[in-house]
Symmetry: D5
Subunit: 146 residues, 10 copies
């Protein structure tokens, strides 16, 4: 998981400005996860969005070009070693087939889109230890017969 140089610069600028992704959410009017994805060049901004971000971070406009491009996605490696990210791999390994069965029982043959898709994270306060709540919402795409 080699992090692109642009990402490193954006993260450093964000740190210097003392901004959280949640702060940027208000400025860009997009979810903090989508903005984090933009930082990692996994999403693409419009010209205006890129300008807003660059201004907020106090960077010059030379960053706009990369933020509005369509880069090759996927941050590798094949099996993630970072424990936080690995847990999502593990969830897919352990609950992938059960999930498939339940989704198909509810919707028929098809998939949850990872493109027409949103992803949110919330903090659930809990006396026994706070919980991370991850909400995915993807359009159901039924297999076309032809």
């Amino acid at each position: 998981m080699s992090i692109p140089q642009v990402t490193q610069k954006l993260l450093a600028a964000k740190k210097e400005k003392g901004l959280s992704f949640a702060d940027l959410e208000k400025i860009l009017n997009h979810d903090e996860i989508w903005i984090a994805a933009l930082f990692y060049l996994q999403a693409t901004a419009s010209e205006e969005e890129a300008k807003l971000l660059v201004e907020a971070l106090g960077l010059d406009t030379s960053y706009i070009q990369e933020l509005t491009a369509y880069p090759v996605k996927g941050l590798g490696p094949v099996v993630p070693t970072d424990p936080l990210i690995y847990r999502f791999y593990e969830i897919m390994q352990v609950y992938g087939l059960p999930l498939k069965d339940v989704i198909q029982e509810k919707f028929g043959d098809g998939i949850m889109s990872a493109i027409d898709f949103t992803l949110d994270v919330e903090k659930e306060e809990d006396p026994k230890g706070d919980r991370v709540k991850v909400i995915m919402s993807g359009k159901f795409l039924p297999y076309k017969k032809w």
Copy 2:
């Protein structure tokens, strides 16, 4: 992703009885995803839970032993080829690092547990096409310093 024989038998019995995982949810008093995970031997039932399930499916009690065991988890392969399951792998590839940053900004250094963890699926009706909503909730585990 070779499906265990027990799983195949349980799924066949469920089909014959005309039961959905949602129906079993009411009988077992557990979420349908957890029950599907039990079908795939990725979760472990108590004696009573196993009995309830076996009765509901019209199977003899010989299945109880496998349903109450602690089997080796993880359904492979390394990169899933099934399109529905692959999309969750893709989400981890594309949004893994952004997710990590947002979670750590909210919670500090640590991970979302995949053990003290629940997983739900809901159908969101939408005129532009129904959506699959997947909700994960895992306890935040901060890294211990020692």
Copy 3:
């Protein structure tokens, strides 16, 4: 690429009946590729479609269950060794990035769906040697911003 036993039985019955996939196209009113995908358990038939197919092949109705199920898709291995199939892997290796650029230039950030998708094969007669024409048509899915 281990071929499921059902597939082998279906292919043997088809051979015995002297039917081509093109013949089945007329009976099932679906494209021959989709029907071949059904043979390999990579597509799912309705009850009526399954009955029609089973009758056409002179098989008993016990096959209907597998033809109407939602099996785990993907026929492996990671890199295909069969020369005919490998060429499609090679096309993805050599023309994948150029294709990405041209599609994104025409459509913006997004993908061609492999679910809302059709695939056809035609024979182009050519004095210098007949040509295989493969036509893919997938709905363009733009990345959602949220």
Copy 4:
């Protein structure tokens, strides 16, 4: 999928000139996909073609040498992580064997050439959402017996 430096320079020049691959199609008299493949050093231009391209992009002639060379092809990695490119890998995984059967039924034992081969992309306008049409045409090569 590390993109060669020449490619990056060519793409930057193209962007600055405000040219699309479709525009270059008219100048070079070759398909936009072939031109995109040339950008990624997956195809080889003649001296004249390379000159035409270099002029159109406002670059000096030093680029001609790389555009007319025969570089090592294949842009890796083994399984693509970019969602747009992955879908073509998925199509090969899911429809590879069905495709093989239909092609061999129509043509006999052999393959579709990926060398004597053309690849086109078209935009199909559709009220339910535009579609990406990908047309491959490869010479059928029958296996030689000796």
Copy 5:
């Protein structure tokens, strides 16, 4: 490299009859390598060829079906462990790029076909130790520009 059961039966029958592949060359009027490839289901016989072979081996006609089919080719594994076969992998590792350069210098951009292709083995007697001569002949396929 798991050897198909048909192959094992054909090899056993050949051994029992005391026939070499060179003997079969005279009966089938095809090269011994092509016949060995047929034994391993890597080539496809016509009805007549299959009958000739089956008779020569003293087997019943039930084998004809597999010998005339178009099976999935490639005998794996990814990197061969058998020392004789590995040497061909090593030749590709060590001499692959030099070979590419020399072929392209002689022929231009393109490949040697592995389909319109023949392969022969000869024994070169040599006082310092006999030599294995392997002769490959494949049609040169120039890359099409479109």
Copy 6:
């Protein structure tokens, strides 16, 4: 397949001098494939051979050291993506076991050496399309019993 910098310099010098590998064959008195292997640091020259080559290419003597060294051989990757080189991998996949059987039938238990080995390429003119002829000759090495 990352090409060593020395190789790139040698190839550039060769191009500037307008020399083919066939031209170098006359100067060095070695086969063009062996010379190409030397360019890629897969073979080792004597001092005199290295000097001859360096002079022919108009390079200074600093290259002699690398040309006379014994570098780590093998140009990777595990499965080649370049179509020309892949075909040799495919030949090993498809014809590896048949080849093994024919060689062992002719020679007994052992291998074809890839060390006491020569490799030649010839152009076979053919009205239906020129052919690439690749001739390998390796000493047969019988397995020693001890």
Copy 7:
């Protein structure tokens, strides 16, 4: 296992100062293993801890930023080649399943946390050869049912 540059600088400073990890244990009031993990950017320090470390090593404060960040964890490769580290991989290969059975027999269905986790190394003097004692202590996390 490419070692980050910061790590190399920290290790060099520690060597120059003649400090052992055991010495740093007293300064930082954390276990030497945790401190070594911090050196390798596998743990995260607080501002004060980072300052203490930087002072002890005689480095300027520019290192504090990296020591307090949350980097991507996991030092690769998939199977370690270093003999000392490989032995821990081997222990997991050989004793992984037995360990699983014993832990589950003692605790029920769940895992030992690698996050709420400590790791210590002690030297056990022994006349037959000193022994390395590695003590892991992780919170038991029972699988949640939902």
Copy 8:
């Protein structure tokens, strides 16, 4: 991680007898982990030990042969998917290099033996949640110079 049939039989017999590994510890006078390793054919018993175990489990003496043999060790797969076992893989990924540095600082150049090695598991009661304590003790082996 395919579990040998003998293992499955031994585990079933143990379950039927209602014996824990801790119970067997008293009978065999060996640690429960070593006994579990014996169940998985990762350790080798003497004749007497095998007899004791077989008697305790109420099995016939035919199992003695496998329990006293030296089988191929290592239970695969390359990266474990079972969450409990994966955590040990993760510990090696995250703490492998720090561990190496601390061990070498204490002992010099060498390794902890995984052969002259013991492994224990204890339950640490803790009001905040019980802890799994894993204690490894391996002889330090210094690298020999010769």
Copy 9:
């Protein structure tokens, strides 16, 4: 490392007869390692040798066919998990390049044959612990220039 059934039968017969490989060395007049290799179908016996072995083991002559065949060699997997065998993989990882340099310094460009090759194991008694002595002797094969 799945062990062939023939091997298992041969090993069982050897055990029943109470014969060591050293005993068989005297009967077959070949080294014990070569005989063990024959047991694992990694070497090929003559008719007489096979008869001698089969008699010594008290088996019927039906085993002669497999012992005199030329099977596919290599017992996998890619990286061995068995600790005894892994150490040889480790030696190749750690000492492979140093060995290459010393061999080439002594012999020039070439390899040690693994075909014209013998392998012996001896027990070196040593008060500090007996030692395993492994002696390999392979013909040096110089690279041919052509």
Copy 10:
């Protein structure tokens, strides 16, 4: 197998001085293989040994630090492509299990240490072609029971 820069510098100095590893053997009083391993940072020298080597090679003392460190061992890749080194991988593939059986028959359950280990190479003159003799001697380590 990327060779460390220090190694390259040491090898270059050795070449300039016209020293063989055998020459260094006399100076350092260690085996030439161990010295070659030191060159590749796979072994660790004492301060005095490092000084002796550095003097002999005419290098300044700045190299002493790396020669006395404990670097991460293992020179990769997973399967070596260099023919000389591959042969040792092949020996492990072909003779690994036979070797295991013979060693265990002689010594019981355990392994040959690769740490308390020496490795020598000798040239055996032979009229039929000189032979490479490789002698490994490793302490036998019996599996501890606990």
